[in-house]
C-alpha cells in the first residue's frame, strides 16, 4: 500500500464549539511533514480522527486510501504517538509494548528492539507510572515504531524531552522519513521543524491556512517562525 495520508473535508463540533471546519490536506512519504497551528486549532482532533479515535461529523481521513479501522493489523501500517499518558501506570513499559505486540501478531523480540532503539532498555522493567514525561514520550515512540509502519503520526513528540532527547528525536524522525515513510509531526517548535521538516501544514480555526514546502516559506518569510506568526495572525485557536 502507499503511505499517503489523505484528510478530506473533516468537520467536527463539540457542543457549540467548532473544532474542525473542513480540514483538508495530504501527507506524502519521503519527508517529515510539520503540522502547526495555535492551541485549539484542531491539530490533535485531526490526528485522532485519522486513527479513528474521534468520529468526524463529515469528511474522511484515510491512509493509503483506507480507513484506519479497516486495517487488520493497524499498527503495522500506522504508528501513532498521540498521548504519552495513555497507559496503565502499574504495568511495566516492556509489558505495555508486549501486549501491543501481541495485538499486532508481532514477536516479543520486536519489543526489545524498539526498547533499545528508544533508549528504554534499562528501564523497560519498571512500572510506566514512574516514568518522566520524556520517558513516556520515548515509550510512545517505541509503541509507534513497534509495527515498523510506513506512516507515523506524532503529536507534540518533543514535549518533556531533554536537549539530548530533542536531538535524538529530530535525527530519528529525519531518518524515518528518509526510509520513505510518511511522518506527520505536530509541534510548536518552529526552529526544530525548520531544520527537520520538508513540508508544513499550517492550520487555524479548524481548517488549513497554508500547506507549503518549508524551503519556500523560509524563502518568503525569512524563517518558519515568522511565516507561522504572519499566517496565523488573527486565527486564534481557542474561541
Amino acid at each position: 500500500m502507499t503511505a499517503t495520508i489523505e484528510v478530506n473535508g473533516l468537520r467536527k463540533r463539540f457542543g457549540p464549539a467548532v473544532a474542525l471546519d473542513g480540514m483538508t490536506f495530504v501527507v506524502r512519504p519521503g519527508h517529515v511533514t510539520g503540522f502547526v497551528g495555535p492551541n485549539g486549532a484542531g491539530k490533535s482532533t485531526t490526528l485522532r480522527m485519522i486513527v479513528g479515535l474521534d468520529r468526524p461529523d463529515a469528511g474522511t481521513a484515510t491512509i493509503g486510501g483506507r480507513h484506519y479501522a479497516e486495517l487488520t493489523r493497524p499498527m503495522r501500517h500506522v504508528g501513532a504517538l498521540l498521548d504519552p499518558h495513555a497507559l496503565h501506570p502499574a504495568r511495566t513499559g516492556r509489558n505495555h509494548l508486549m501486549w501491543l505486540a501481541a495485538s499486532q501478531d508481532l514477536p516479543g523480540s520486536r519489543v526489545d528492539e524498539v526498547l533499545a532503539l528508544t533508549g528504554l532498555a534499562d528501564v523497560g522493567r519498571r512500572a510506566a507510572g514512574g516514568y518522566s514525561l520524556g520517558m513516556r514520550q520515548r515509550l510512545g515512540v517505541a509503541a509507534a515504531l513497534l509495527g515498523d509502519p510506513p506512516v507515523l503520526l506524532l503529536d507534540e513528540p518533543f514535549n518533556g524531552l531533554d536537549p539530548a532527547g530533542i536531538v535524538w528525536m529530530r535525527d530519528l524522525l529525519r531518518e524515518l522519513a528518509a526510509e520513505d515513510r510518511s511522518v506527520l509531526v505536530s509541534s510548536h517548535l518552529m526552529s526544530e521543524l525548520q531544520d527537520m521538516a520538508g513540508h508544513v501544514v499550517v492550520v487555524g480555526q479548524g481548517r488549513v491556512i497554508a500547506a507549503a514546502d518549508v524551503n519556500d516559506l523560509v524563502g518568503e518569510y525569512a524563517s518558519l517562525e515568522t511565516a507561522y506568526l504572519e499566517l496565523t495572525a488573527g486565527a486564534g485557536g481557542i474561541r
Binding site: V51, A86, H88, T92, M98, W99, A102, D105
Partner: protein, 231 residues
C-alpha cells in the same frame, strides 16, 4: 478478532491484578455459603446466599475491565491497536466469561458440595454459575455505556440490590409484580430456590432469560455507544 483476544489476554497476563482480585473475591464469597450450614427450609438457597455477594465482585470485574482503561487513558492506546471497537468489546466479553467460569464453578461448587445432590440442586448451582457470568457481562456493558467506573458500579449495584426495595414502593400491585419479575434480584433468588418452586413468580429458566436480556441489552447499548462516541 484473534488479535484482539490475544491483546486482551496479554494485557491481563502482564498487567496489575485488576481482574484477578475481584474474581478471586467473587469465588471466595460464593464459596462462603458453605459455612451457612443447612438449617433452613431450603438449604440449597441458604448455601447459595454467597452468590448474592459474589455478584457485586463479578460486576465490579466486568466494569473494571473496560472502565478502568478509560480511567487511566489506556483506552486510547488500546483503540490504536484494536480500532474495531466491536472486536474489542467481544474480546473483553469472551475473556471475562473465561475468567468468571472457573471461579463461579469452584465457588458455587464448594458452597453446595456437602449437600445431597439432586436435580433441583444441580439446576440451582448451574443456574447460579450462568447468572454470575451474565452479571459480569452486565457490568462490562454498563461500563461501555457510561465509561466512569464509579458510576457504572453504582448503576449495576443499584440494579442488583436496590431494585426490589424500590419496587416495593411502586403503588400499583400489577405493575409491581410485573416489574418485580423483570429485575435480576428476583432471578438470583428464583434460581437458587429448590423448595416450593411452584410459588415462585416465574420458572428458573425464564428468570435466567430476564438476566440474559439485561446483559444483552447493556452490551448492545454499550457496543452502540462505543462505536458512535469519540474515544
Amino acid at each position: 478478532m484473534r488479535a484482539a483476544l490475544r491483546a486482551e489476554w496479554a494485557k491481563l497476563r502482564t498487567g496489575p491484578a485488576g481482574l484477578a482480585v475481584p474474581l478471586l473475591l467473587a469465588g471466595l464469597l460464593a464459596a462462603a455459603g458453605a459455612a451457612l450450614g443447612d438449617r433452613a427450609i431450603d438449604p440449597v438457597q441458604l448455601r447459595l446466599l454467597g452468590v448474592r455477594l459474589a455478584q457485586a465482585a463479578v460486576a465490579a470485574a466486568g466494569v473494571h475491565l473496560l472502565a478502568g482503561e478509560y480511567g487511566t487513558g489506556l483506552i486510547r492506546t488500546t483503540l490504536l491497536a484494536v480500532p474495531r471497537r466491536l472486536h474489542l468489546l467481544t474480546a473483553k466479553a469472551a475473556l471475562l466469561t473465561a475468567g468468571v467460569v472457573p471461579v463461579a464453578v469452584l465457588g458455587v461448587g464448594v458452597a453446595v458440595a456437602t449437600l445431597p445432590p439432586g436435580a433441583a440442586m444441580l439446576r440451582a448451582a448451574a443456574g447460579s454459575v450462568v447468572y454470575l457470568i451474565l452479571i459480569g457481562l452486565l457490568g462490562l456493558g454498563t461500563a461501555a455505556v457510561v465509561r466512569s467506573s464509579a458510576v457504572a458500579t453504582g448503576i449495576v449495584l443499584a440494579l442488583l440490590y436496590l431494585m426490589p426495595m424500590i419496587l416495593r414502593m411502586v403503588p400499583d400491585d400489577d405493575w409491581q409484580r410485573a416489574l418485580y419479575r423483570l429485575t435480576p434480584a428476583t432471578a438470583v433468588q428464583t434460581l437458587a430456590t429448590t423448595v416450593d418452586t411452584a410459588a415462585l413468580p416465574m420458572g428458573p429458566w425464564a428468570a435466567l432469560g430476564v438476566v440474559a436480556a439485561w446483559s444483552a441489552g447493556a452490551l448492545a447499548l454499550g457496543a452502540l455507544t462505543l462505536c458512535r462516541r469519540d474515544a
